[in-house]
């Protein structure tokens, strides 16, 4: 029902023939992405996996409008992206909550930036703080929180704006296994009530399959789509248990074959550049 089966409707995220070049510190042009095509249907949870440095973060930056593509087209909810995309929420790979704001102010900052009054924004923030399980920590500053708690703050900060498109860049990779399982379950719960479309970057294939409707494998840089796999495991899923389902294991083996080749390519390259 949820996964992008509405063929007639407009895609939530659409990248067509996107190439992204950077000028690296040495002054040379460096191609991070080449001819990337990617579509995420409305309400779909799409996981993106690929070896390190293949351009996953870059892809999200393009969708969010923080970076323009060098070639090709990026569309969100049907319209071309020009400048920062207002309907997008973005959880960054690194901690990006504001260290000088306490938990409540950090969560309230999105509505405040978008012109909501202080008391309105604060009461909405209070609800979100409770929803991500941080009740009682409203007045804490980020440095007084654990890594997992900071991720919760970031999650609330992102979701409070009600993004139609949710971009997440390895949001849980720095967490321990137990916290991570909890957060993944919570994410699925929160997501199922919002109906947002998600592009979820991870290098953990298990996480990708457990969470998503579809897994996209990106090649070693310059990144382009190597394969796409529909995850036909019914929802609601329990993240802890889904890993033992036969279908999950099957999918894992299938996707891993694709991914492993790319990881090896990327690894060989790093070894070479270190050796030379």
């Amino acid at each position: 029902m949820r996964a992008g089966d509405g063929t007639g409707s407009v895609a939530a995220i659409e990248l067509r023939g996107v190439t992204k070049r950077f000028v690296n510190p040495a002054g040379h042009a460096f191609t991070a992405l080449r001819d990337l095509d990617l579509t995420v249907a409305p309400g779909e949870f799409c996981a993106i996996v690929g070896p390190t440095g293949c351009g996953k973060s870059t892809t999200l930056a393009l969708i969010s409008g923080l970076e323009p593509p060098s070639r090709g087209e990026v569309r969100v909810l049907g319209h071309p992206v020009h400048g920062v995309e207002r309907s997008a929420g973005y959880m960054f790979q690194r901690d990006a909550i504001f260290p000088w704001k306490n938990v409540l102010d950090n969560v309230a900052v999105g509505p405040r930036f978008r012109g909501v009054g202080r008391s309105d924004a604060e009461s909405r923030a209070r609800e979100w703080v409770v929803r991500v399980g941080l009740a009682g920590f409203e007045r804490y500053y980020p440095h007084q929180l654990s890594g997992g708690m900071r991720k919760r703050v970031a999650l609330a900060q992102t979701l409070i704006n009600g993004p139609r498109v949710l971009l997440m860049d390895e949001p849980f990779s720095a967490l321990d296994v137990q916290t991570r399982l909890l957060m993944e379950n919570e994410l699925l719960d929160l997501w199922s009530t919002t109906g947002a479309s998600v592009a979820f970057v991870t290098h953990d294939l298990e996480e990708a399959i457990a969470l998503s409707d579809r897994v996209v494998v990106i090649t070693a840089g310059p990144g382009t789509v190597k394969g796409e796999y529909r995850v036909d495991i019914p929802r609601p899923r329990s993240i802890a248990e889904v890993r033992f389902e036969p279908r999950f294991v099957e999918l894992y083996e299938e996707i891993w074959k694709d991914l492993r080749d790319e990881v090896l390519v990327s690894y060989e390259r790093t070894k070479h550049s270190v050796a030379s």
Binding site: A88, A96, H143
Partner: protein, 291 residues
């Protein structure tokens, strides 16, 4: 369970006691060191003195002063006033110059630092000049200010401003430049326009750098005021030092230094308080940028 807790509680108590003992020891040693230095100073400048000829003492108190003499000088100043008026008036004058110079210098430093930090063009154009000005030993400007602005307060304030300005300027500039790119990106995504980006991200992030510079700048403000007074003034602690020097009164110089030290310590405590109020969110301080 209970036993375990008691045991760890006992250990905590033992640790706390050891800690308290150590603090007491440090305190006692500190006092002891001070007393030892003062006593040896007093003794060496009093020992084997023959009559009025101070040169015969182990250490000549004419050059090196004498704790009892310094104390006597302080008492005299407090009771009878200094050559240029009551002691408290000298202190107030110097404080006024310091605080004014500090405030103006900090304000200018922040404004210029933030503006140049935000504008590539301006900083590229003005950069070399600022570096050149900074490389110059700015204390010599004191002479210019004394000539141009006279013996009253403005010349001292001007020198303090110049000294403070550069410290704050470089910190503010660096602070604006060092804003975390991820934080900026996050604020943009969350909906910040340029104005909110500045007030909610750039400024708070630069603030910790600016505040780190306040310790040094307050010291510099005091130096500016004192040197300014020393170069020419009608009132102030700097003038007291100059006067004492002119009459070969080494006890007077040390006594004035003592007053300055007390002022500096109090000011430092004030800035530390200000710091902890302004940046509660930070676990530990950024160290100052040295120039």
């Amino acid at each position: 369970m209970g036993g375990l807790e008691r045991a760890s509680g006992d250990q905590d108590a033992v640790r706390a006691r050891a800690h308290a003992r150590r603090r007491l020891l440090v305190f006692a040693l500190r006092i002891g060191l001070g007393v030892f230095i003062l006593a040896s100073w007093e003794a060496l400048t009093s020992l084997r003195c023959e009559g009025k000829d101070t040169a015969t003492c182990v250490i000549d108190p004419f050059f090196f002063g004498k704790p009892s003499g310094i104390w006597a000088q302080l008492v005299t100043w407090a009771r009878n006033g200094t050559a240029q008026g009551p002691l408290w008036e000298q202190i107030v004058v110097t404080l006024e110059e310091t605080v004014l110079g500090f405030l103006i210098g900090v304000a200018l430093g922040i404004v210029f630092g933030v503006v140049l930090g935000r504008s590539r063009m301006l900083s590229d154009v003005l950069g070399p000049y600022i570096k050149a000005l900074n490389a110059m030993p700015r204390v010599v400007l004191g002479s210019i200010f004394t000539i141009a602005l006279g013996l009253e307060m403005p010349s001292k304030v001007a020198l303090a401003v110049v000294l403070v300005f550069f410290v704050v300027f470089f910190n503010a500039f660096q602070g604006v430049r060092e804003v975390d790119r991820d934080l900026v990106a996050n604020a943009r995504i969350l909906g910040a326009d340029e104005r909110r980006l500045f007030t909610d991200v750039v400024l708070p992030s630069a603030l910790s750098w600016i505040i780190a510079s306040l310790h040094t700048s307050l010291g510099f403000a005091l130096v500016g005021a004192i040197v300014g007074e020393y170069l020419g003034a009608r009132q102030g602690i700097g003038l007291m030092i100059a006067t004492a020097q002119g009459s070969f009164n080494s006890n007077g110089v040390y006594a004035a230094m003592l007053i300055l030290a007390v002022i500096a310590i109090l000011a430092e405590a004030l800035v530390t308080r200000l710091e902890s109020v302004l940046i509660r969110w930070r676990p530990n301080a950024i160290t100052d940028v040295t120039i």
